[in-house]
């Protein structure tokens, strides 16, 4: 076994071991033991991931594709667990382990006291066990070299997400939210599994590489669902994308993500912003050779992404819970990434995944820092003027916000601008419409982000702030914030060139030459990162983001009476936004109640009345009634019986002789 193989295995398994120790022996090793062992394990993984990153991304090592063990063999198909390490997975591994490490450290401060649990409850150890388990699951997802393992990781992160959303398991809202998250994700998985089934049916493999190699031979294959043949590749990619829509919360499967905020803030940062929710984007990028072959699938991906980006952004405007604002912004940003995939700008989508992982984790953790200071009050209307009490949180959150709105020079600027330019340059069906939505979305993003920012830090101090002792969070909280703000600012600069030229993901992402909009931008419009920043200052998106900030400042600082007036001017608009376009109500009525009614009908009417009542017990009653009558035949006279016996024997004999 090669050194590389061993290193990958250690990198993958270390968090799992940490998780098992903290989870099963939490009481024995205590709090300190639990966080030490899990942090040490994740730190080890991070260092190794950095090494792997250097090897594959910087030195350009050949992709490493190898099996770890054979899960099973059936029907000649090998189901394996293994690694495919290239620039795509190596980058994700570093992002995942680094953000996870920051979150681990941060958690020491955040979970120190908890209103829901008495101090002797090992909730603290359990939490560390879960986030380490998550890290393992996410790593196995991104390192996979086949669909089986992808699905393993996919479901495992879903499980941990389920456990963590419901972490405060006494709260009805939390356990409602985690059930919802699991079920909505399962709707996505339904499509995902069927997509895998098509792959197995036509390619006879679960291995990525074999699948890619077979694409050329099967690209014109058709599949018949009963209404006539459709392109097999389109069907497979669309079904797989349904899985991505669940995990990456694209409309209409987005409904679980806002409610996932019931979980503690560190996991909102790690799972529901930085890593897990980007798994869908990662999967499509990983399968780019297949998506490239279906124009229909690409257009669907593009439109779903663009509509999510815009419509979810609008919802961010009316939220008052600090975490929900950030959650809706995550939904909207995931829409941007998805839209990038739809115009074959997979690299730009992944680029946004990376920058977003840093700045969104930063934003969430900063929001968590605010929440700690506010003693777990999350309503931004109760805040205000926090700037002077918590300077580190203030500055780091400002960095995160600027990155989010795409302020020139910050990481988010580079990635978001590449996506917007890509939709502009693309000739994909729907690209014009998508471009419009994404550009408008920039304004919305800037507005809701700075609405929150101003209300929290700059608005006049609320009653609560004035009467309570508000102070900056401890070092275990602020140090991760500082460490995360570094990549949130810088990471765009070195990456933008290689991303646009296509050299960054050259070994992992495949784009047809006629789809390659990023390359086109690179060749015709790109003259270095600095130039891009300067040029950006004269483009519409950047001006729209400035306008959004300015409007937020005007409405919430300069003229705070205005929002209420706007609300009164169009109460219907407000209601629509407040109810999130009615998705929840619709699901509740149609799917939740509908299923229950259907179940009741099947059970009460078919099972109990028809099968049991009429058929089973009915037969029994019939026998009883018949017996009552036939009883009369049993006269007790011997000659009656003898007659019947002889008669019967005669009939039998006749039948036998026939």
């Amino acid at each position: 076994m090669s050194t590389l193989h061993t290193i990958l295995t250690v990198l993958l398994v270390a968090p799992l071991i940490g998780s098992i120790i903290a989870g099963l022996f939490g009481r024995q090793i205590g709090r300190k033991g639990a966080h030490s062992v899990t942090i040490a394990a994740v730190a080890l993984s991070t260092v190794l991931a950095a090494w792997v990153f250097a090897l594959f991304v910087i030195q350009g090592h050949e992709p490493y594709n190898a099996s770890l063990y054979t899960w099973m063999i059936s029907d000649g198909i090998k189901f394996e667990i293994g690694y495919l390490i290239d620039s795509l997975s190596a980058t994700m591994m570093l992002v995942v382990t680094f953000v996870s490490l920051m979150v681990h450290i941060y958690t020491i401060g955040y979970m120190d006291h908890d209103a829901d649990y008495p101090p002797e409850n090992p909730y603290y150890q359990r939490f560390f066990s879960y986030i380490s388990l998550f890290t393992f699951s996410m790593l196995s997802l991104v390192m996979a070299n086949n669909f089986l393992q992808l699905f393993f990781g996919w479901e495992a992160v879903g499980l941990v997400s389920y456990l963590l959303i419901g972490f405060y398991m006494k709260r009805e809202s939390a356990i409602q939210a985690n059930l919802k998250a699991f079920l909505v994700n399962r709707v996505g998985d339904f499509g995902f599994v069927l997509g895998i089934a098509i792959v197995v049916m036509y390619f006879g493999t679960l291995d990525y590489q074999t699948f890619f190699n077979g694409l050329d031979a099967h690209k014109d294959d058709v599949i018949d669902f009963g209404w006539g043949p459709v392109s097999m590749i389109t069907a497979a990619t669309l079904l797989l994308f349904v899985g991505a829509m669940g995990k990456s919360a694209q409309m209409p499967l987005h409904v679980w993500l806002p409610e996932s905020m019931e979980g503690p803030t560190p996991i909102s940062a790690l799972i529901h912003a930085a890593t897990m929710v980007t798994a869908g984007i990662f999967m499509v990028a990983r399968l780019s050779p297949a998506y490239e072959l279906s124009e229909v699938a690409l257009s669907v991906v593009l439109l779903v992404g663009a509509i999510t980006a815009f419509m979810m952004g609008l919802l961010g405007i009316v939220q008052n819970d600090i975490k929900r604002v950030v959650a809706y912004s995550t939904l909207s940003q995931l829409g941007y990434m998805t839209a990038a995939l739809g115009v074959s700008a997979y690299a730009a989508g992944m680029f946004h995944v990376i920058t977003h992982a840093f700045f969104k984790a930063l934003l969430f953790l900063a929001a968590g820092s605010v929440i700690i200071a506010m003693h777990h009050d999350q309503d931004i209307r109760n805040m205000g003027g926090l700037k002077k009490y918590m300077p580190i949180t203030y500055w780091t959150m400002l960095i995160g916000s600027l990155a989010l709105i795409g302020f020139p020079g910050f990481s988010g600027f580079f990635s978001k601008d590449s996506i917007i330019m890509a939709t502009e340059a693309s000739e994909q069906f729907g690209a014009g419409f998508a471009h419009l939505l994404l550009v408008a979305g920039v304004f919305v993003t800037a507005f809701y982000t700075f609405r929150m920012f101003f209300l929290v830090f700059h608005a006049p101090e609320s009653e609560y702030v004035r009467t309570h002792d508000i102070h900056e969070s401890p070092k275990v909280v602020t140090v991760p914030l500082i460490l995360l703000s570094i990549p949130a600012v810088l990471v765009g600069w070195p990456m933008i060139g290689p991303i646009l030229s296509g050299s960054y993901f050259a070994d992992s992402i495949f784009v047809l030459p006629e789809h390659d909009v990023l390359r086109e931008i690179y060749e015709h419009h790109f003259h270095g990162a600095l130039n891009m920043v300067i040029h950006g200052l004269f483009t519409l998106p950047v001006w729209l983001s400035f306008a959004g900030v300015a409007l937020a400042w005007y409405m919430y600082i300069k003229n705070p009476a205005l929002p209420a007036r706007v609300q009164q001017a169009c109460p219907v608009c407000y209601r629509i936004l407040e109810n999130g376009y009615g998705f929840d109500r619709f699901n509740e009525i149609v799917f939740v109640n509908g299923s229950r009614k259907l179940g009741e009908f099947f059970w009460k009417v078919i099972d109990q009345t028809i099968i049991d009542g009429w058929m089973v017990n009915g037969t029994a009653n019939l026998v009883a009634v018949a017996a009552r009558n036939w009883r009369q035949l049993q006269t007790g006279y011997l000659y009656h019986y003898a007659f019947v016996m002889i008669f019967g024997t005669l009939i039998l004999l006749l039948w036998a002789l026939w």
Partner: protein, 504 residues
């Protein structure tokens, strides 16, 4: 293949003889009855292990064969043997029985010796069903099994136990009568009761169809399939915990085993002709029963319906092979479905057994199975909560648990037969998660609901050990199913070959 002792006979008769001894020696001495029973099941389990280790994985032929004349006048033999289809089921039986005996330890207080004796005798009879290769012998085990189960439910059962036992008895008895007639017919045709001779017996289409239907009735009742499933929820609800475990983990598998041992090899042409019937009923089981499970108020009923739904995967996986050939022109995928069905049976043995044991743990404390009586159990029983969520995830078919393996394989293969089979089967991903996790939410999570729940105590050592054994089994099979598949390959390939060999 030999291991120094007649292993299959030992596995049948050791528990039966020990059971009889327990019945007599344990009277007025429950302690002795318990320890003797526990010793028996543990020794039997250990004695069954050579089946796994000495098993020849390269052949589909029967192994560990024992053959003696029994009633020479009718050419009835005492003929035992296992292949890759039955061997795992025998091990499942010996493994589960250890947990079953342990689960009743403090719970059963009256007539302990009869209770234990009944389960030991049942164990021998169940093993007999899986290893008998003579149809009469098989039939004797099959029917005799009804008696101890009838007694267990009828004596230690719940308030409506009489209704449930009679329903259970009549249903299964009704089913097996037709099977007996088929056996007799084939005996007159072949002059032998050997099941292996039945496999090679040429049969006309009409005969095959009638025999196929007779088998279908017998096995559909047992497994059970829609619409002959309604006895199962009633039987489960009234049965004591150990009875439910045996019923769900082992006895349902006898139906699935029947399809692969009798229906497919004996009536291949009729199977090809009537496969649609089994497939339609399987899909109804998966989808329709899923909805029924969703609205149950009683935990045992919910898990009982969930069992029916999961058994739908077994029958689906076994019968998609003909459509695969028709739809794709190759047999690629048939083995996947068949092995998926077999794995699903083993996995369901672990998971449903675990679910019923978990419900038993709750029942022992609060004496109710109503979902609404619970809430927030994890607050007072954290270890129990851990295991319950683990097994629930197995029931949901989460990758990494055994529940995933069979479901995944059957979905993949049924999709090949017809995309819509795959789509309907995959629906279980949603509905299975809905009914299982909704129950988990209402029972395990949440705030402590009432005084009674607040006083519940976490698992004791005995319960902890039982749960751990099952958890290890569920995870081991989910993470590394390779060895189990390896045992089955040769036999499954042979079976598929038989299923495509026309007898006309």
């Amino acid at each position: 293949m030999t291991v120094g002792y007649p292993i299959l006979s030992t596995l049948i008769w050791l528990p039966i003889i020990a059971g009889v001894i327990v019945l007599f020696a344990g009277r007025n001495n429950p302690r002795l009855a318990k320890w003797l029973s526990l010793a028996t099941v543990i020794v039997t389990f250990l004695l069954s292990l050579p089946l796994w280790f000495a098993f020849d994985r390269t052949t589909a032929a029967m192994q560990f064969v024992e053959k003696l004349d029994w009633i020479p006048a009718y050419n009835i033999q005492y003929f035992l043997g296992v292949d890759g289809l039955s061997m795992p089921l025998v091990l499942l039986t010996t493994f589960t029985q250890v947990l079953v005996i342990a689960s009743a330890w403090e719970v059963i207080k009256e007539r302990v010796e009869q209770y234990m004796g009944a389960f030991l005798i049942m164990q021998g009879l169940m093993t007999g069903v899986f290893v008998a290769l003579d149809a009469v012998l098989f039939y004797v085990f099959w029917e005799a099994l009804l008696i101890p189960m009838f007694i267990v439910i009828g004596k230690w059962g719940g308030p409506r136990r009489v209704y449930a036992t009679i329903k259970f008895f009549l249903y299964t008895f009704f089913g097996s009568v037709f099977m007996l007639v088929s056996f007799l017919y084939m005996y007159y045709q072949s002059g032998s009761f050997s099941i292996l001779d039945f496999h090679t017996l040429p049969l006309g289409m009409t005969a095959q169809i009638l025999i196929f239907l007779a088998f279908l009735i017998a096995f559909a009742v047992k497994i059970p399939m829609f619409p002959v499933h309604t006895w199962l929820p009633d039987a489960h609800v009234e049965a004591p915990t150990a009875g439910s475990v045996v019923l769900a983990a082992i006895m349902l598998k006898m139906g699935g085993y029947g399809f692969v041992r009798f229906s497919l090899p004996i009536t291949p042409d009729a199977s090809m002709q009537l496969d649609w019937l089994v497939i339609v009923l399987s899909l109804i089981a998966i989808v329709y029963i899923g909805f029924v499970a969703l609205v149950q108020h009683d935990m045992k009923k919910l898990v009982a319906y969930s069992s029916i739904s999961h058994m739908g995967f077994v029958t689906l996986g076994m019968f998609v092979l003909y459509d695969i050939l028709q739809n794709t022109g190759t047999l690629q995928g048939a083995q996947l479905g068949m092995e998926g069905a077999m794995v699903q049976m083993i996995s369901h043995g672990f998971i449903s057994g675990a679910m019923f044991l978990a419900i038993g743990v709750l029942y022992d404390r609060l004496h109710t199975r109503e979902i609404s009586a619970y809430g927030g159990v994890v607050n007072v029983m954290p270890w129990f909560g851990f295991f319950a969520v683990l097994f629930a995830m197995g029931n949901v078919g989460l990758p990494g648990t055994s529940g995933f393996v069979g479901e995944f394989m059957v979905i993949l293969s049924s999709f090949k037969a017809n995309p819509w089979y795959g789509i309907l089967a995959a629906f279980t991903l949603i509905i299975g998660a809905a009914y299982t996790l909704w129950m988990v939410k209402r029972v395990i999570f949440g705030d402590i609901r009432n005084e009674a729940v607040a006083k519940m105590e976490d698992l004791n050592k005995r319960e902890f050990a039982i749960m751990t054994a099952l958890a290890v089994a569920v995870i081991a099979l989910g993470v590394y199913p390779y060895p189990l598949m390896d045992v089955m390959h040769a036999s499954v390939e042979h079976l598929i070959q038989q299923a495509f060999t026309s007898k006309l």
